[in-house]
């Protein structure tokens, strides 16, 4: 028979084994991977000069900026190097190809207008981001990060979105009356 101490020791070993957990995956790391991928499915009205970097402005999301900075140096977008800029207001917006606006900035999304800026892919993580004017909005379904797409918004910005992207979207705005 085992002694009480041996049982406790065994229990401790089991707990220790179970606690050796894998590295967590954050929503930002998945969103950053999506953002990196999106550029391959979107066509902008103007092409960039050959040597110009692709600029991604990140509004109020240090986590997203960190993830992008981690992956972009080794992964050019469409063969082009990419630069991440962190911004905290509309005034700081440069001439990005992609803008990511973290949750809590619905008003800023609504204020961004095509007539005031060059064509950009507006990506958000707002509860009702598409209604606020976003082209692509991240949503979390169960434990998966998914996204929804607004075609009217894409058209407003002069962007063409490929059908492959729409196929994976959890919702294409306007497609169904719900």
């Amino acid at each position: 028979m085992f002694s009480k101490g041996a049982w406790l020791g065994l229990f401790g070993l089991v707990v220790h084994g179970i606690c050796a957990a894998a590295t967590p995956i954050s929503e930002d790391s998945i969103r950053a991977a999506y953002l990196y991928r999106f550029a391959g499915y979107v066509t902008w009205p103007q092409t960039l000069p050959a040597d110009a970097p692709l600029i991604i402005d990140v509004m109020d999301s240090p986590g997203m900026a960190r993830e992008l900075r981690r992956i972009l140096p080794a992964h050019p977008i469409n063969g082009r190097s990419a630069q991440v800029r962190e911004i905290s207001s509309l005034q700081e917006l440069g001439r990005p190809r992609i803008v990511y606006v973290a949750a809590g900035h619905a008003r800023m999304l609504r204020e961004l207008r095509p007539e005031d800026a060059a064509a950009m892919l507006l990506v958000s993580a707002e509860e009702d981001g598409l209604s606020d004017g976003s082209v692509i909005n991240f949503v979390t379904v169960d434990r998966n990060v998914r996204f929804e797409v607004s075609l009217p918004a894409a058209q407003r910005w002069g962007l063409k979105v490929s059908a492959d992207l729409l196929g994976v979207a959890v919702r294409v705005q306007g497609a169904h009356p719900r």
């Binding site: 089991v14 707990v15 179970i18 606690c19 957990a21 894998a22 590295t23 967590p24 995956i25 954050s26 929503e27 790391s29 998945i30 950053a32 991977a33 999506y34 990196y36 991928r37 499915y41 992956i71 992964h75 509860e127 009702d128 949503v139 979390t140 379904v141 169960d142 434990r143 998966n144 990060v145 998914r146 929804e148 075609l151 009217p152 058209q155 407003r156 063409k160 490929s162 059908a163 492959d164 992207l165 729409l166 196929g167 994976v168 959890v170 919702r171 294409v172 306007g174 497609a175 169904h176 009356p177 719900r178």
Partner: protein, 637 residues
């Protein structure tokens, strides 16, 4: 058995609590190397906020997600529907279930079968036009490929269509873009054995497809005294789905074929078979979204030993267009036409006259959602439905939604819906020996409801969300059984002589206790106040409209434990049935799953664990449902 189940729950909970974490990272790979479809499947370790994106509509919508289905380990659609707290799912035999929302779930003793729900699989209506009920043995889909099931309690007639009187169940499968690869699943237990397989792939740059096959055998339930009910059954089904996309256009073609053999106590087998082919074209324009869908569907049943049965062919086309007008108006309009042709092989004592018929069901509808302010929307809708027995009927709908702040939204609705007459209401003849016992009523009118709802959704913190909907339904022209005026009794006929109201509450919540444990309680309360119109016979009483419990509730627990172990359990309570009487009961389903690696998952699931056998409808209307245990392996290659 109770102890056997709860002990591991407690032990696992204690272990995870000791750890303080329950990491559930599902990939060790480079996220940037993944396709969009693969990224969609990566699981986040901790979710910061419950997603409400699919639940914004001003209606009582409960969404059963892909994840809920897969984690619960259910093996059929009716079992999956038990996860929705706004539905009451009652198993009556190995292959039959009664599904109802908000009461009036029918009473088989009075030949009134649950008939007030609309159920759709990828836009294809699957309630039977013969009596508006649901044949649960025809509902199978590849559960791994289900994107979500939307369960709407309440009226949904304007947008969703015919028969959406007390609720709509909308089963949506994944696009073929999301189901690439090989998936194999097999399980065996004391009540059933099954196997599923699916293969999906890209077809060129813009298309994807999948093919699947599934088969199962489910054993018989039990009669009173524990003898076998002889109702075991087996089914095989295969199907495909392909999606093409080009710029703003997408085209989906999908189809299924199934065949089932169902045993009976007398040793003779019945057969259930059918198939469908669905085509759907969508154009996503900048200002307009057009959808055109057409399908054909065949559903056939051959009674035991070839006695009695039917075949129904359905041909359906719908067009729907969504237009954005300015900043404030979103208009959806559309039209649809459905043709049913059926042929019935009459039994000696249950006959349809005529035995063959073609029926059409048409509709036109328009709905405008007006944004009055950024927080307030009004939706006005009107559908006009043309059914073959009662002609054009208006089905209006008014909905108001108000986002009070970022955390709380409230909505209100008033609408009208009907259950159109069916051949069972208008054509059926029942005999007792040579005597005609019941002669249906060619003048049967639609059953009608005026529904009023008030609902609120709240996200009180990062981890708690709540949805409550109160309803008040006023019914008229509900079906009754009336004596023949000339003879004083036989043959009886169907009348429209019952009326009354029901009121109650559907409520559910999500509580993310920790990043690894979620609890989802939900309940429905219904009070029914029915009576007969002046001149009615009152035969069989008001209970014929529904042998309904006044409440039912469920508590779902989902745990992500370390080492890729998941533990899910559903405790459900169903109140007593008033007549025929059945005491209240509580049952428990639980599953423990272990994902050994990216490709392989093992699980053990038990259903109805608290009792060796129990009735969900009283003896005579239902059989004893037995406790079952099943071991399963899932391979994603």
């Amino acid at each position: 058995m109770k102890i056997l189940v709860t002990a591991p729950v407690i032990a696992a909970g204690v272990l995870a609590a000791l750890c303080g974490v329950a990491a559930h990272a599902e990939t060790d790979g480079d996220l940037t190397a993944m396709s969009l479809a693969d990224l969609a499947k990566v699981e986040v370790t901790s979710v910061s906020k419950t997603n409400e994106a699919l639940q914004r509509a001003p209606a009582a919508i409960y969404v059963i997600s892909h994840d809920d289905i897969v984690r619960s380990g259910v093996t059929s659609i009716p079992e999956a529907l038990r996860l929705a707290p706004n539905l009451l799912v009652t198993q009556t035999s190995s292959s039959a279930y009664v599904i109802a929302a908000r009461g009036l779930g029918g009473n088989p003793t009075a030949q009134n079968f649950s008939n007030k729900l609309l159920i759709l699989i990828d836009g294809r209506s699957v309630y039977t036009p013969l009596y508006s009920g649901i044949y649960a043995d025809t509902l199978d889909v590849m559960l791994e490929d289900v994107e979500r099931i939307e369960v709407i309690s309440g009226v949904g007639a304007t947008l969703w269509g015919a028969n959406a009187m007390n609720g709509v169940i909308n089963i949506i499968t994944r696009s073929a873009y999301l189901t690439k690869g090989t998936y194999i699943d097999g399980g065996a237990g004391n009540q059933q054995q099954f196997g599923d397989a699916r293969y999906g792939a890209s077809a060129g740059a813009d298309a994807a497809f999948r093919v699947y096959g599934l088969g199962f055998h489910r054993d018989a339930m039990q009669l009173a005294g524990g003898t076998g009910a002889g109702d075991g059954w087996s089914k095989g089904q295969g199907g495909f789905r392909s999606d093409w996309g080009l710029d703003e256009d997408t085209l989906t073609v999908q189809g299924d074929y199934y065949r089932a053999t169902e045993s009976t106590l007398n040793g003779l087998d019945g057969t259930v078979l059918g198939g469908n082919l669905v085509g759907r074209y969508e154009h996503h324009g900048a200002q307009s979204d057009l959808q055109v869908q057409a399908y054909i569907d065949q559903s056939e049943q051959i009674g035991p030993g070839g006695t009695g049965g039917f075949i129904v062919h359905t041909y359906d086309i719908t067009v729907q267009d969504t237009i954005t007008l300015g900043a404030r108006n979103r208009i959806v309009w559309g039209a649809g036409e459905r043709l049913y042709t059926y042929g019935i092989t009459n039994e000696t004592e249950l006959l349809f006259e005529p035995t063959r018929h073609a029926l059409t069901l048409g509709n036109v509808f328009v709905q405008d959602t007006v944004s009055l302010t950024s927080a307030v929307n009004v939706t006005l809708g009107l559908k006009a439905e043309d059914d073959p027995f009662s002609g054009w009927t208006p089905l209006p709908d008014l909905r108001l939604s108000w986002a009070i702040n970022d955390h709380v939204a409230t909505w209100a609705a008033a609408s009208r819906a009907i259950r159109s007459p069916t051949p069972f209401d208008t054509d059926v003849v029942e005999k007792l020996g040579p005597t005609v016992f019941l002669q249906a009523n060619s003048g049967f009118r639609p059953e009608e409801v005026h529904a009023y709802e008030l609902g609120t959704r709240a996200q009180s913190s990062e981890s708690v969300s709540l949805s409550v909907a109160a309803f008040y339904n006023v019914y008229d022209d509900l079906r009754t059984i009336e004596p023949n005026a000339t003879t004083g009794f036989l043959p009886l006929y169907w009348g429209n002589m019952m009326r009354g109201d029901t009121f109650g509450i559907d409520a559910w919540a999500n509580w993310q206790l920790t990043d690894w444990w979620r609890l989802s309680p939900g309940a429905t309360w219904v009070r029914e106040r029915l009576g007969f119109a002046p001149g009615a016979s009152g035969l069989l009483g008001v209970g014929q409209a529904g042998d309904d419990p006044s409440s039912h509730a469920a508590l779902v627990s989902s745990m992500n434990l370390p080492h890729r172990v998941t533990l899910d359990a559903t405790l459900r309570y169903v109140g007593a049935l008033p007549g025929p009487v059945l005491p209240h009961y509580t049952e428990l389903d639980a599953r423990v799953g272990w994902r050994m690696n990216q490709k392989t998952e093992f699980s053990l699931r038990g259903a109805n664990l608290l009792h060796a056998r129990h009735y969900e409808l009283p003896a005579g209307d239902g059989e004893q449902i037995t406790r079952s245990v099943i071991a399963e392996v899932r391979l994603t290659l």
